[in-house]
């Protein structure tokens, strides 16, 4: 009995040591704290109600407001985009005219970039630079370029058309000159930071442009049909896929050769190579308008969808499998606008 008790104690203390070692590991090893899905919540325009939430890969739970928890400050007004480079995350805060740079796994703030930032929208990385689209309402449209090593401003690339999404493929940077469903060109910036060409998309108006494995994908629609274009790193359209009869295709996301998008409440999942018009994988109803599916992303084989609840209440995140079974729902921050793998 006594020896038993002794062993139990010993066993318990060994466990405790192991457990505490493990804790220390978690603490010391940056790669495991906020590694999972990051969620950007825009917040309501004109108030610093933007926030960032974290969902672990096992989608067991959500942790809201992680930036504020770590840094004891609001992240800002309209968190529009998050980009990653090395161990840093770059949080683009539109109406605060700034980019907050944080350690991507701990979320401790490391820098704030404001030089030549005015109503920033999206960020992309290439050639030891990072590129930010700046689009002021009825004002200047430009891409500002920064040195990745020290966050210093390098140059400003002015545009006459609007500048919205920005992605990189190879050593080129692609700027979507379309926003709010209007516009059909993509500009290509080369490694000398000069616009070398403008790609005109043959059909439809661009809704969203992404890049995966050095291929740029852009989804367009003309209200009767939806088109997917693939553009190579040289800036040449290599493939057009017409999803005949699907109007209003939007919210493109591509992962592991799967293409996911929605048209109204219908969510489509198809293969990059497939040329057939897919049937909806699942349907979200009631579908009121674009605020019902405000953001959609396929990450780690799961589809994350946000419903921004009339912009007033906390957004609802729903996580679906690729075949459309609802696996989890979460309550996030205000106006959830983006999901990122971290």
């Amino acid at each position: 009995m006594k020896i038993n008790k002794f062993l139990t104690c010993l066993f318990a203390s060994v466990l405790l040591v192991i457990a505490s070692c493990k804790d220390d590991d978690v603490y010391n090893n940056q790669e495991t704290s906020y590694s999972g899905i990051l969620v950007s919540n825009e917040g309501n325009f004109t108030t610093p109600s933007g926030s960032i939430s974290f969902i672990p890969y096992d989608i067991s739970t959500i942790e809201n407001d992680i930036y504020k928890k770590v840094n004891n400050a609001y992240v800002g007004d309209v968190v529009n985009n998050i980009g990653f480079s090395g161990d840093q995350a770059y949080i683009v805060v539109n109406n605060s005219n700034k980019i907050e740079v944080v350690n991507r796994f701990r979320f401790t703030k490391t820098a704030t970039i404001t030089d030549n930032i005015k109503q920033p929208r999206f960020i992309a990385f290439a050639n030891n630079y990072f590129y930010v689209t700046n689009s002021a309402y009825q004002g200047e449209q430009y891409v500002s370029v920064y040195n990745i090593s020290n966050n210093t401003f390098v140059k400003k690339i002015p545009f006459t058309d609007t500048v919205e999404r920005i992605v990189s493929a190879g050593n080129k940077v692609f700027v979507q000159n379309a926003s709010f469903g209007f516009g059909n060109t993509i500009s290509v910036i080369n490694s000398s930071n000069v616009v070398e060409k403008t790609i005109t998309i043959p059909h439809g108006q661009i809704t969203k442009t992404v890049s995966v494995d050095d291929v740029v994908y852009t989804l367009t629609n003309d209200f009767t049909d939806t088109y997917l274009y693939q553009i190579n790193a040289a800036g040449t359209i290599i493939k057009e896929t017409k999803y005949a009869g699907i109007g209003n295709g939007e919210n493109l996301s591509v992962e592991n050769n799967k293409v996911v998008f929605n048209s109204k409440g219908n969510v489509y999942v198809t293969n990059v190579a497939s040329t057939a018009t897919p049937a909806p994988a699942f349907t979200i109803s009631p579908f009121e308008d674009y605020k019902t599916i405000y953001a959609l992303e396929v990450l780690n084989g799961k589809i994350f969808i946000s419903d921004v609840k009339d912009y007033e209440l906390d957004s609802k995140i729903s996580v679906y499998s690729l075949t459309g079974s609802l696996e989890k729902t979460f309550s996030a921050g205000k106006i959830t606008g983006g999901f990122y793998k971290n």
């Binding site: 108030t47 109406n95 005219n97 700034k98 404001t114 004002g139 308008d289 906390d314």
Partner: protein, 603 residues
């Protein structure tokens, strides 16, 4: 100053007297005293005003149970009366409803309180007399003109924390026939306060505004008098930003309010004819360094006739007829050039034949271009049960008209909107015992067809008559006033319980505190005066799902005044003594402890 105060007290004392005409004053809003016979009203005189001289927001916040939502000190601010929200509170300037024709609400921090002799607060609906928006209550900004008082002038100047300066100069002259009044006021503040605990700096919070007021009255004979009252106001208000690099924005307003009237008094008939012109110019600057990004002009031409016909000495019919022509002009906004003709007729009957029971009934109909207007009515009575208890009851139907933005905004304006309507009932109980007075008012408001903007497509928002909301609550007020030989004490504590329940979700509307307590006390000993104010708000939900909220808070203010010689008063006050960190709107922190010194000269 003292004379104004004394004079005002006299006016208050006389309010229940039927012989109003004895007071040698032109009340430009001649309805307010009548309304006060049955409705719950509060009057704030010039002494009260100077205790919260920074803004009308501060005055209403600390001296009434109205909840004031302010985007940081001095910035955009709106009231909520009985939980009904800004669009259901009427601002009434000398008897004329001045809520914006575009927004349907008053912009409190652009109504500088130093322009007015007194501020009246009327609780509960009053659309029959005061028109659209008088649902939760109305706030009355009044100037008065008196006769036979000679020459009188006041200079007031106050310097406070955050580079704040509030000043006014007022001159009045009157003889038996002529009364003249002129005042100018100026307020300005750098307003760059900091709440370090919250890493908050009120960046770009500066404001300044200037007002000029001019009044004139002339008695032709004992039965006829003419009067004019005019106001010009100019304001430059920056909007606070939360981040150093954020684009700074600002808002400018130029307002002109003018009225001319003729009062006829005879035994059987009292008639008051007013011609009114209201002009509101505003410009929004999306970037303070650039040209205006949008703006507009609203113009209102009003003819209003108020006829009292006395059936007997204590009973009368009152016919109010009004015609308005309203015109809007937009600059780079969704408003083009909307115009609207509107006429309305109100008929009231008042009866005070019984010594203990006074009652009145009223009805109103609006003829409005562009939307369907509801039939309105009111009925009220006051019964003096004994010498320590009185009770009054008010029942009415009130409305809020769709605004120019609701109807005409392009794209999205909805020309098919109906007016919001509400039924209201309240019952007040007044108890008095020696120097104590207790007032208890439970009320109930059932509001239908509340107008709400919601997105209809990806770009277009549109208003609809969607919500039904029930408001109910209880207002109580306990006051103690006493004068000794050299001492004078006035204290008041009020408590309100407010529910504003959306009939679909069964949740409280946002920004309606459940419990609010106000306390104020004034003590005067010879040449020294002291005052203390306290405000408590219980937690306030900031969204309609009762998820997020602002914590409860308690704010204390205090001040001292000294009159070293009769005509000079020196003042010192401390606001937010306990350094409470608080917000009235989510994210916009209010200042911590701050100070002001003032000088008041009377000649």
């Amino acid at each position: 100053m003292k004379r104004i105060f004394t004079f005002f007290s006299l006016a208050v004392l006389h309010q229940f007297s039927a012989q109003e005409s004895l007071i040698d004053t032109v009340f430009i809003d001649n309805q307010f005293n009548k309304v006060g016979k049955t409705a719950k009203i509060t009057r704030l005189n010039s002494v009260d005003i100077l205790q919260n001289s920074t803004s009308l927001s501060d005055l209403l916040r600390f001296q009434s149970n109205i909840y004031i939502k302010e985007n940081g000190r001095g910035a955009t601010s709106s009231p909520s009366f009985r939980g009904t929200g800004a669009q259901r509170t009427a601002f009434v300037w000398n008897g004329i409803n001045i809520n914006s024709i575009f927004l349907g609400q008053g912009d409190i921090n652009n109504l500088n309180l130093l322009s007015y002799e007194n501020v009246g607060i009327k609780f509960g609906g009053g659309s029959v007399i005061y028109g659209s928006g008088a649902i939760g209550g109305s706030i009355h900004l009044n100037n008065t003109l008196d006769f036979d008082k000679g020459f009188h002038g006041t200079i007031f100047s106050e310097y406070g924390s955050f580079g704040t300066l509030n000043s006014f100069i007022k001159t009045k002259y009157s003889n038996e026939k002529l009364s003249f009044s002129f005042s100018a006021n100026h307020s300005k503040s750098d307003n760059d306060y900091e709440v370090s605990e919250k890493k908050f700096i009120n960046r770009n919070g500066e404001y300044q505004n200037t007002g000029f007021n001019f009044g004139l009255a002339y008695k032709i004979d004992p039965n006829n008098e003419f009067y004019i009252q005019s106001q010009h106001y100019d304001s430059d208000q920056h909007y606070p930003i939360f981040d150093e690099n954020q684009t700074k924005t600002k808002y400018q307003v130029q307002t002109l309010r003018s009225l001319a009237g003729w009062k006829l008094n005879s035994v059987k008939i009292k008639n008051d004819l007013k011609l009114v012109y209201l002009e509101d110019n505003f410009q929004y600057f999306g970037d303070i360094n650039k040209a205006k990004s949008s703006g507009g002009i609203g113009k209102q031409y009003i003819v209003r006739n108020d006829l009292d016909f006395f059936v007997s000495k204590q009973s009368s019919f009152n016919l109010i007829s009004e015609y308005q022509y309203n015109r809007g002009e937009g600059y780079q906004s969704g408003i083009q050039n909307p115009k609207r003709n509107e006429a309305n007729l109100s008929l009231l009957y008042r009866n005070g034949n019984l010594a203990k029971f006074y009652w009145e009934v009223g009805a109103k109909y609006d003829f409005v271009e562009g939307y369907e207007s509801p039939f309105l009515f009111s009925a009220s009575g006051k019964y003096k049960v004994n010498n320590w208890y009185q009770t009054s009851i008010n029942i009415s139907r009130n409305f809020k008209a769709p605004t120019f933005n609701d109807l005409f905004w392009q794209p999205g304006g909805n020309p098919d909107l109906k007016a919001e309507t509400s039924y209201q009932a309240e019952m007040s109980h007044y108890f008095s015992y020696k120097n104590l007075k207790l007032e208890i008012t439970p009320y109930y408001i059932k509001m239908q067809d509340m107008i709400q903007w919601a997105p209809v497509t990806s770009i277009i928002w549109s208003p609809k008559n969607v919500r039904d909301v029930n408001f109910y609550g209880l207002e109580t007020e306990l006051s103690f006033n006493k004068n000794w030989t050299n001492h004078q004490l006035k204290s008041q504590i009020s408590y309100s319980y407010t529910r504003a329940v959306d009939q679909e979700t069964k949740k409280q509307l946002s920004y309606v505190p459940f419990n609010q307590i106000n306390f104020k006390t004034n003590y005067q000993y010879k040449i020294v005066g002291l005052f203390v104010q306290a405000l408590y708000n219980s937690k306030i939900y900031t969204d309609s799902s009762e998820t997020h909220f602002i914590e409860d808070y308690l704010i204390l203010n205090a001040g001292i005044t000294i009159n070293p010689i009769k005509n000079i008063q020196l003042g010192f006050k401390v606001n937010n003594i306990t350094d409470e960190i608080y917000e009235t709107v989510n994210y916009y922190f209010m200042p911590k402890r701050n100070y002001a010194v003032s000088l008041n000269l009377n000649f």
